[in-house]
Structures are given as structure tokens and as C-alpha cells.
Symmetry: C2
Subunit: 282 residues, 2 copies
């Protein structure tokens, strides 16, 4: 058995391409349909209700394109709305980035203290804390929202004095608490890995959820015998859709994907938001 | 003659409340209906097409509520889509923030060199440059996009080392060009007035478009004999609508308005985006 349908991946913007990159690394024969809601990003400062609405619209759009598995690459949506999306995904497996990242941290921490950094919504709803405690309730979790990190990455200030000051501002307290690993709970943050590592020192391990999420997708497809058997897979056979052709989307998508995206197709936002029309039988 | 209908004011988010504040200062008897599209802000990094779509939806929503005049408090929408909105506003006067700010700078500059700071879209489309040149084509205009300023204000870092570094990063070049005044071309920037003034020195004049926009509204209502004659006007009689009840909207709205907003009403985003339904005659 094999399944040559594509894997669906979505994020509020282009940051989720860091997850797509890890999927291609592990499974170079798979096709991806990526959706970035660049007309309405970022989601991280919005209310839970709005995050749920936008995330569900993104998910439904990809499910309607007949994907075999759905990856919620957005930490904010994974934190706020994963159960809701999974309950409405027909029989498609839905994988978020929170549980894989939490599982990796539980395995990694020796001192049983874990730091989590993410958007305001991700930290506020405490999804990483719940996921870590589901594995081991004795682990202490220290969460900090870092709302400036996304705009710093999007400005390309990966190695700049302003960024180093921001890293110091946000991470001093987490570090004081004695954690030995920190989950990078937002798809933009791996691009700040170097600046953060310099500040926290080499004894603090930084965990990129993208890597662990790709591993989980690999395991699920393996258990379902659902890998693609098509010869033409990978990056060249994949599709990248955005709801707004923002001026810097080419530059940013190459930054996150680590290579040039083959081509990015704009789609009208109302293809996500229009009420679902049930086809009338002839 | 008088006109007791409200003034409509909209912005991508809550920053436009700085314009509402100036309107109340000049015309304490007027009522305002304010709309902040907090579910889809910020607009400043999006494409012109999407800015035009979102701005038109905001405008149509307020016009349908029977406002007597429409203030586009968003610099991004004023820069990209003011003509488009004005052409579709029935007979309602539409005032943006760009022309009033440009007029003030033309009056103010002695060296005929003006700086403009704003969002990526505001600077890219060059609306301030065109507006200044319509008054005096000999004035040199130096524009710089400052995408970190909005998130810095929203983080409340008005007087912080990170902000001072960002001000230095963005403004060094504009200042080197020898301008004697700088237009704060985004509704968030007046809150950074002190940090910016410290960096540029007291000989560089900072112009807040909000003040000059309120003066223009005053002049237009006066010329139309359109002030309200109702006794119950002002802040207490006004309405403040948002498309998302974001977690920090109370705190931020007080910051921008300079006083507590009486109450903020969430409205469903699809009231802006739904296709316009023409009522069918009975």
C-alpha cells in the first residue's frame, strides 16, 4: 500500500516553511501543499476565538484539496485550536507542533525544568505546559511570550544589536529559573537560534519543534503504510499557496525554506472564508 | 444648519484612536464611530491589493452606518487607497491623514528637506512624497520604513533601550540628509515621540499627522455648517468597534486615546467582508 496524495501544511504566514523544510529532509519523495495566510498574519496577538476561526478556515481549505495528513505548523493554532480542528477533519490525521516539541523536551531535560518561548497566545493558553505535564507532571515549565521576535526575523535582523537586546530582555528570567532546555515555540524562532544560543550559553539546549514534528509525521505515515510511491515528489512537485502576495514573500520564503520555493501561488482570501456550499446533486 | 450624525473614523487597529483623541480635543461636542480592524491588523506589510480590499470594507461598513464624514486614520490605507475609497463613498467627504501631514511639513520646513517615517507600504508607494510635491515640487523628501516601531509600541516599550537602538537604526540616515522636520507617518509613532526627539535633537521638528488631520476635519465641518448641535456628544456618546477582542485591546486603547474608552464593542469580521446584499423591495 502507498498513498500518493500530498501532505497539507499550514501556518499563519511563511514561518511554517521551516516545518516543510524538515519534512522534505526526512521524506524527500513526499509532495506538500503549503498554505500561508499572509493576508491575516500574524495570529499570535489575536483572541482565541479569532485564532480558532482562522485556523479552521485554513484547515478546511487544505482538507478540501484531498491531503492525506494535515500538519498545523503554526504554534499559535496548535496551542489554541488543535482539538477543534482534529474533531472536524473527517478521517485525516492532524498533527500539531506542540506535542512533538513537548515530548522532545521531556526526553531532553535532566533537571526537570523546561523553558518555552512563543507568541502571546501560545504562552497564555499554556498548551506546552499541559502537553509536558501529560508526559511528566513533575516537570517545571517556564513560559515567556516574545512578541518582538517575529518582527525582528521579518526585518532580517537575525544578527543585530537590537535582536541581542531583545533576546536579553525576554530570556533573562527564564534562564534565571535554571532550565536546561528551551522549546522554540514559534516557527520564526529557529532563525534566531544563533542569537539565542549566544545569550543562553551552550549548556542550555534549544529545541526546534519543526524537527520533532517532521519525525512524528514520518512515524505516522510509516504506521499507515502511507508514503508516496510516485517518482515525482519533493519540493519541485509541491505547491505553495498564500492569501496575499506580500512584497517580501519571495525573500522570506527562501529564508524559511532554506532554498528557493519553486513558485508561490496567490489565492483569494475569500476561498478560505466563504461559507461552505454543499454541492446540489444533479 | 447643523448635522448631528457621527464622524466615522477607521484604522487597521487601535492606533487611529490618536486621531480620535485630537478630534475630541478640537470638537468636544462631536460623536465618533470608530472602527479598528484588530482581527486583520497590521496592514503595513501587506500588498497594495489587500490593503485596498480591507480599507474599502472598513469604509463601506462605516458609510452604511450613516456617518457625515469619514476619516481614514490609517496612514497605510490613506497612502494606498484613499482615491479609491473617496470614489466609492457616495457624497460623504473622505479625509486621509497624508495630505494634512504633508501640508504641515511644507509650511514648517525652512531648509526644504522633509523626512517621512511610516510602514513599509506607506513609504513604498510614496504618497507623502507626491502630496508634498503637489504643494512644492522643490522640496526634497527622505522616506524610511520603520516596521519595528508598531510592535515596540504594542509591547509598551516606549522608553526602553531596545526602542532607542531601533530609533537609531532607522533614523540615522534620514537625519544625515539634513531634514529639519520629520512626519510621523503612522498613528503608532506619536507614542514614540520622546524617544525619537531625544535621538534627532530639538532642532528637528516632529509632525504628528493626527493633529493636522483633526484641523482639516474642523475646517470642512465648519465650511459645511455641519457641526453637531446635540448636547450629548463627545467621548461618552461615541462608539468604538473592533473586529477582534484582542487580549490587550483595553490597555492599548487607553494608551492611544489618552483616556479610558467608554466601552468597546466586538463585531463579527464577516459584517465587513460579506458581499453587499441589496435589499429586495417588498
Amino acid at each position: 500500500m502507498s498513498d500518493s496524495r500530498p501532505i497539507g501544511v499550514f501556518d499563519s504566514g511563511l514561518g511554517g516553511l521551516t516545518v516543510a523544510r524538515e519534512l522534505f529532509r526526512l521524506m524527500p519523495g513526499e509532495k506538500i501543499i503549503y498554505l500561508g495566510d499572509t493576508a491575516r498574519c500574524p495570529y499570535g496577538n489575536r483572541s482565541e476565538e479569532t485564532i480558532r476561526t482562522f485556523g479552521s478556515e485554513d484547515a478546511r481549505f487544505l482538507i478540501d484539496l484531498d491531503v492525506k495528513l494535515l500538519v498545523v505548523a503554526c504554534n499559535t493554532v496548535s496551542s489554541v485550536a488543535l482539538d477543534f480542528i482534529a474533531a472536524n477533519s473527517k478521517d485525516i490525521p492532524v498533527i500539531g507542533v506542540v506535542v512533538p516539541g513537548a515530548r522532545a523536551a521531556v526526553r531532553r531535560t535532566a533537571v526537570r525544568k523546561v523553558g518555552v518561548i512563543g507568541t502571546a497566545a501560545t504562552i497564555r493558553v499554556g498548551a506546552y505546559t499541559r502537553a509536558i505535564h501529560a508526559f511528566d507532571p513533575a516537570i517545571k515549565v517556564y513560559g515567556t511570550a516574545c512578541p518582538l521576535f517575529v518582527p525582528l526575523v521579518e526585518e532580517g535582523l537575525l544578527d543585530h544589536e537590537i535582536t541581542r537586546h531583545a533576546v536579553q530582555y525576554y530570556l533573562a528570567e527564564v534562564l534565571d529559573s535554571g532550565v536546561d532546555c528551551i522549546i522554540l515555540g514559534c516557527t520564526h524562532y529557529p532563525l534566531l537560534m544563533q542569537a539565542i544560543q549566544e545569550m543562553v550559553g551552550t549548556r542550555t539546549h534549544l529545541l526546534d519543534s519543526a524537527v520533532w514534528t517532521a519525525l512524528e509525521v514520518f512515524d505516522i505515515l510509516k504506521s499507515l503504510d502511507g508514503f508516496s510511491s510516485e517518482k515525482a515528489g519533493g519540493l519541485a512537485a509541491s505547491r505553495f499557496l498564500v492569501t496575499d502576495r506580500t512584497p517580501r514573500f519571495k525573500e522570506l520564503s527562501s529564508l524559511f525554506l532554506g532554498s528557493e520555493a519553486p513558485s508561490i501561488e496567490p489565492i483569494a482570501l475569500d476561498r478560505l472564508t466563504k461559507p461552505y456550499i454543499v454541492p446540489v446533486a444533479a
